[in-house]
Amino acid sequence: MTAAPLLELDNLSTHYVSAQGTRIVRAVDEVSLRLNAGETLGIVGESGSGKSTLALTILRVLPPAARIVGGRMLFEGEDLVAKSDAEMRHIRGKRIAMILQDPMASLNPLFTIGDQVAEPIRVHEGERRATAWNRARELLRSVRIPSPETRLTQYPHEMSGGMRQRIVGAIGISCEPRLLIADEPTTSLDLTIQAQYLNLLRDLQQAHGLALIFITHNLGIVAKMCDQLAVMYAGRVVESGPVSRIFNAPAHPYTRALLNSIPRMSDSDQRLVAIDGQPPDLSALPSGCAFAPRCPQALARCRDAAPPPFAPEEGRIARCWLAEPSAVGGDFRVASGAA
């Protein structure tokens, strides 16, 4: 029996519109993704790829200038795009939680740790303060914060960066969500602290049956933590599929170039393979494939028309003309969002 996916994005699009209505930035452009319960998905992209906007879109916490202009987001079968604000409030924090990059900005400096960890419990489950604090203490223990009893009454500025990020994680899992979205959660952490933290996330995931979405620019995190990978460029998903398959045989030139440009510890003194050019300006995208100006394998066709998503293998998607199955004899499968 194949279970329905926990989260399914179907041709989702989010655009930023300037005040006069003149400039449109297609921050998220026809994105389709699928995530099953308990799985870990990595969304990789650089600045301007749209990955953070995608996270905000899922939780419907977009800034006023941004609008969802198309598509569906099915979470446990319900379309989040169609939900009202009041309904989303019940989902945020309780069924889908999010942790962000900067733990100091995520915690209110004026409230105690206990208050902040207990807050979602009191809001969503209506518990009394005493009960909520007890649960908060247990949560702090589960994220491996030593002497949680004393920590409850302390303030964020008294904690180190690594501890703050764990507290943010505790807040995230406080109401037992099904999905946790982590947007660059370890970028500000030291290496050894990052190792501790990623291990913690993996253990929490197994203990609670949590699905994780990692939004990051760091392919190393994806290699370590993720089952599935989606690579974003200029607002579109250019490649997606299982992590090891993509690392072994990337189907999109951008993914391939990205993997080749990263220095490896086991390298001999080889020159790194750099990607020419600059990341795209989302308000002035070229016609055709957005990566064509920088692509070492660009065809004339790539500048004329943007490729639709093709399926080079079962369970993989690549938006590239080079991934198009040859028409000779084979059936032309174009993977649509509903496939």
């Binding site: 650089e46 600045s47 180190s160 960066g161 690594g162 501890m163 030291d190 290496l191 050894t192 602290i193 990052q194 190792a195 501790q196 291990n199 620019h217 760091n218 392919l219 190393g220 995190i221 994806v222 290699a223 370590k224 993720c226 992590v243 090891s244 690392f247 170039a257 990205l258 440009s261 990263i262 220095p263 490896r264 510890m265 086991s266 390298d267 020159r271 790194l272 393979v273 750099a274 990607i275 020419d276 600059q278 990341p279």
Partner: protein
């Protein structure tokens, strides 16, 4: 002959409460470190927050004065330099910093930015200065017309190239690179790292390369020094150190580096606890509270840097009872033997 030699270098900050308050303590940001940078080579420094690598960079650049120890440039001690000597040092050691958006004065044109070190230190006619600016732009792969533009017209990677062009203007011998690519997009980092290596090969530059991306440091450096709480715990040839670390902290650090492939299996060494505050370092070996191999001796006695098979390590694991019992040779003996 080394370009730069630091011996017993220290920088202590006094942490004071308020304007007239009593001293709260001493932060030993850098506490007696020694390293050398050879001509045309790169020394990489790795370590986590509070290890002192940024302070070390500032000491080398002359942005801070050391409280102890010495820095010798081309064999001459910096403290003994007169004004001309100090000016020569300034011209020979330049820097590239992390944030390309804050490294360039937004109100100055690129040509003025690149020319500033020249204008401050040499009396050249304007035509020569302009010629040098164009030469620098060419060396970093930017078109000549960039000279008349302003920083905001460039992307992050391009701005970092401009910062490198400026650092090269005086034909320095040593460039301090403090996280030069951390703020750049992943696809741009390789461009800049390649550029830096090309420039090193072409111009015989030495680099002091500080970064938290271990793979990048291992890729760029000839020698790596690992710092922890103000001390160097291990120094050695870059690839060898990365693949076979000797100090337990180095081992933990490199095992924490993210893999480059999902099938890459690495021994996971998870260190307990947090990095202690430099205000209150642990006694004896500063790493002992978190070290998986700590012995009784480690809490009381600080280990000395010793040579161990072409590596220099400060750890009691390599010092069982001194030379006579087959332990490591002390540092001076190793240096003299070379």
């Amino acid at each position: 002959m080394h370009v730069l030699e630091a011996a017993g270098l220290s920088k202590h900050f006094v942490a004071r409460r308020g304007l007239f308050g009593a001293d709260r303590g001493v932060v030993r940001a850098v506490d007696g470190i020694s390293f050398t940078i050879a001509r045309g080579q790169t020394l990489g420094i790795v370590g986590e927050s509070g290890c002192g690598k940024t302070t070390t960079a500032k000491l080398v650049l002359g942005l801070e004065e050391p409280t102890g120890g010495s820095i010798r440039f081309d064999g001459r001690d910096l403290k003994e330099l007169d004004a001309t000597g100090r000016r020569y040092y300034r011209k020979s050691v330049q820097a590239v910093f992390q944030d390309p958006y804050a490294s360039l004065n937004p109100r100055m044109r690129i040509s003025a930015i690149i020319a500033e070190p020249l204008v401050q230190n040499e009396q050249l006619p304007a035509a020569d200065v302009r010629g040098r600016v164009l030469e620098m732009l060419d060396m970093v792969g930017l078109p000549a017309r960039a000279a008349d533009l302003f920083p905001h017209e460039f992307s992050g990677g391009q701005r970092q190239r401009i910062a490198i062009a400026r650092a090269l203007a005086l034909s320095p011998r040593l460039i301090v690179l403090d996280e030069p690519v951390s703020a750049l997009d992943v696809s741009i980092r390789a461009q800049i790292l390649n550029l830096l290596r090309d420039l090193q090969a072409r111009l015989g530059l030495s680099y002091l390369f500080i970064a938290h991306d271990l793979a990048a440091v291992a890729h760029m450096s000839h020698t790596i020094a690992v710092m922890y709480l103000g001390k160097i715990v291990e120094t050695g040839e870059a690839k060898a150190l990365a693949n076979a670390p000797k100090h337990p902290y180095t081992a933990a650090l490199f095992s924490a580096a993210l893999p480059s492939h999902p099938d890459e299996r690495r021994e996971e060494i998870i260190l307990p606890g947090e990095v202690p505050s430099p205000l209150n370092p642990p006694s004896g070996c500063r790493f002992h509270p978190r070290c998986p191999h700590a012995m009784a001796r480690c809490a009381g006695e600080e280990p000395v840097l010793r040579g161990v098979e072409a590596r220099i390590v400060a750890c009691h694991l390599y010092d069982r009872g001194g030379e006579a019992n087959g332990g490591a040779k002390p540092l001076e003996a190793v240096a003299n033997a070379e």
